[in-house]
Subunit: 479 residues, 2 copies
């Protein structure tokens, strides 16, 4: 094991040499994910799954605080049900897995493995909603979904992935709109505060929106390489599905009405976002809120009398303060340092004979390698402070990097040149025409990331056709 | 809504009139579960799912305390992988759902939707285990599985169901045996202490054991109608799967060895067990540990000045003590009483003008309808005491009922007569022959529930063939 792990620690390809390989090396070496013999389906081993569990706990608490309840819907969708909303089926049918046999018998109607569950929720809501008193329905489910992707990448695109999907029904369009925005805000706040990933909040163009939605809101993050990662989406459906599924309720004025609907989702994709926002050439760097180990205690010269005792005393003392572990294996301190750097542990606590003499320990931050001597008497208050400093440091670093990777373009020549020469996002005006959006994709290789809520005026003309334009759009390459 | 709910409260069929209908009425009226258009697949609406979430939290904490880690394995198993262990595939292949198409293209190899994940874990372990230093592997996953059952019943038997499955690998047979027993003990302790369901711990006969296991241990509970519910199982595999999947490790003596394996699972089935152990003709009765609402506050004469204020004051005061809710809707107190009895809420807190005058409230236990006047100054200490009293009361009632429904039989005539006349379990000796077990099933309609760990000697002869027998078996009808 020792030898094998040693090799693992050494194996990370530098980011500048090969970004894709750097990413894959971290995924494998930090034991975040593994493939199985099922094409494109991920195994999440303990370390990777523990990160997802921490993300789940954070989001689940926020969902409950905003009045949502968890439910569980079936894994399968009968073909007829999937086909009820025409835009939706057109978007998803080409990429679903079909169950055709139960045991030895062929099924009368094929079942698809859910790629998303709007249709199942709508079928349920049609039975459960009768009066305005039954509204709102604020449901969420934690599950996995399946999309038959041809090419897959760990966390970013896989045939099966873990996520949560919220599905809500409201009395009025206004309320549903507010819900759509509220949940986008929950995602933005989680990404920025808990995961230390700065995001741009905005609306997707019609071309990029969810199949069947009236409007899709998104939070877009920028990765190390300048590419965008759509990190959470929140959809407003109006009453389109309600009409297709005949969901009606008796309103306050005693008339029959259609409710207004939203859905919103975040997935294990954000783990890819964490890697590509915070990671470096030594490996993963985890934001403290989701790190399975927040502090790793490494005894130095552990064979000397009193060292292991003291290290374990600190472990016990810090249990209630943070997620702390100790590594008292026989590996060298240097090997351990590299190992836990690779695993992205936010703080390393070193304690040796000399430290004990001085009633102190050394704490090293993973994000900037800053070393602090901390008195053992102050440890319990200092650890939370340092974890908070790591969080802020990570956010600031990502924010500054993004700032330097956002350009502007006023015409196609400038847009194409920027796209070719400089990784990152480009701000440019758009007239709203699909043909311009498609031309930008074709000629500059950029897709519209979003129409940000915070608008600026780069010019007053469409970057593509030159017609008057008042929409500023972020354009970029994306995962 | 009022009218509709009123109807719901009234609709429970008495247990003695029609036990199956009583069960279904509770499931529907307490909003524990709902069907979808997908045959045999359950919807768990908020109330039913919240019970499962509470069970999950209890078990997950115990799994982690015993050193287990959560992981996530794929949903699909390639046909070839399922076939690697011959007993296992024989047991499961007839009842799996087959995916044959991805998008529009037929798959080269069919994938089954996991009915259980031994094969996936084994494939992973074959790659992850090399040395004795890699052992033990103590993994668990929370997910749903699919078994193509012909006839289904809410919670008890469904095509898809939620569960957890633990899969562990150990250096020695001894360690794996200990793990098998440890996890059975976790189930038994959870059932008895948290769910207040008395269980019999024992070993399954070879006929009843899990497909591919060397030994299956079980916890068997007795329902109101005397039928058994297998409520959790823990399997010892020896090295059978390890050989089939070529999982080998270098041992301490430097030889190549096969590791020894266990798996263990508990599912939403236990919610059926809760209903049929504690429920009565007024509806569900929930053990406090898993009740989504532990205390429901019902203001009496809530239009009178000060009542709602006081009721909400109590709500705020009790938030940290228990899961408390208030119902200040315009329904009558009587309607509310019935509603929350039907939902199985362990404690009802009534507060009206006269109570406020006397600085007290009324607390009514769901399990025995005992009324207590409690001083408002003592409420925070009294509520946990009463919840504990409900738990103990439920356990004792179930225990006493079971005691009265266990019989003994010494020969087939007695066994058949008892089976016909008296619901419950029958203790009888068994020689160990499959033919006797089959004959008992055929003639008395009873299956072997388990060979209990706590053995007694009913006689010294097999109840069926009369040959010498030293195994005492619990026989019964089962869900």
């Amino acid at each position: 094991m020792a030898k094998q792990n040693n090799k693992l620690v050494e194996a990370i390809t530098p980011m500048d040499v090969d970004f894709a390989q750097w990413y894959t090396d971290i995924v494998r070496n930090a034991e975040l994910m593994d493939y199985s013999s099922v094409r494109g389906c991920m195994i999440l081993p303990p370390y990777g799954y523990a990160i997802w569990e921490n993300i789940q706990h954070i989001l689940d608490r926020k969902f409950k605080e905003t009045g949502h309840e968890n439910v569980s819907m079936p894994l399968f969708i009968p073909e007829g049900l999937l086909q009820k909303e025409k835009d939706h089926v057109a978007g998803f049918a080409p990429e679903v897995a079909w169950v055709t046999h139960g045991g030895t018998e062929p099924l009368q109607e094929r079942l698809c493995v859910r790629p998303t569950s709007e249709t199942l929720f709508c079928e349920y809501y049609a039975r459960a909603i009768h009066s305005y008193r039954d509204l709102p329905k604020l449901y969420n489910q934690w599950c996995s979904v399946v999309r038959w992707e041809k090419t897959t990448r760990p966390f970013l695109r896989s045939v099966e992935f873990q996520w949560q999907e919220g599905h809500t029904m409201h009395e009025t369009a206004q309320e549903a709109m507010e819900e759509t925005e509220r949940m986008l805000e929950v995602y933005a706040e989680t990404l920025e505060n808990d995961l230390a990933i700065p995001v741009i909040k905005g609306r997707k163009t019609d071309k990029e929106k969810f199949a069947g939605a009236e409007a899709t809101y998104t939070v877009e993050a920028m990765m190390h390489d300048g590419k965008a990662l759509q990190s959470g989406t929140s959809h407003y459906f109006g009453d389109g599905f309600a009409k297709a599924f005949e969901i009606r309720f008796t309103g306050r004025d005693n008339t029959l009405q259609y409710p207004h609907q939203t859905s919103w989702g975040m997935s294990t994709r954000v783990i890819g976002g964490i890697i590509m926002t915070h990671g470096d050439d030594s490996g993963l760097v985890l934001p403290p809120a989701v790190a399975p180990i927040q502090v790793i205690i490494i005894p130095v010269a552990q064979h000397k009398p009193g060292v292991l005792e003291k290290a374990n005393e600190l472990l016990a003392k810090l249990q209630g303060v943070a997620r702390v572990k100790i590594d008292q294996s026989e590996q060298s301190p240097g090997w351990k340092f590299a190992q836990y750097e690779m695993k992205g542990v936010p703080l390393r606590l070193e304690i040796g004979p000399k430290d004990i003499e001085n009633n102190q320990c050394v704490i090293v931050r993973r994000d900037n390698r800053e070393k602090t001597f901390v008195s053992l008497d102050e440890l319990e208050s200092k650890i939370p402070e340092l974890l908070e400093a790591v969080r802020q440091g990570l956010y600031q670093k990502a924010y500054d990097r993004r700032l330097g990777m956002i350009s502007e373009a006023k015409d196609m020549e400038q847009l194409c040149k920027t796209a070719e020469e400089k990784p990152g996002f480009v701000k440019a005006m758009w007239c709203g025409d699909l043909s311009c959006e498609e031309k930008i994709k074709e000629e500059a290789g950029l897709s519209s990331r979003c129409i940000p809520f915070e608008q600026e005026s780069v010019s007053d003309k469409c970057v593509c056709c030159g017609k008057p334009a008042d929409k500023m759009v972020f354009w970029g390459k994306s995962y």
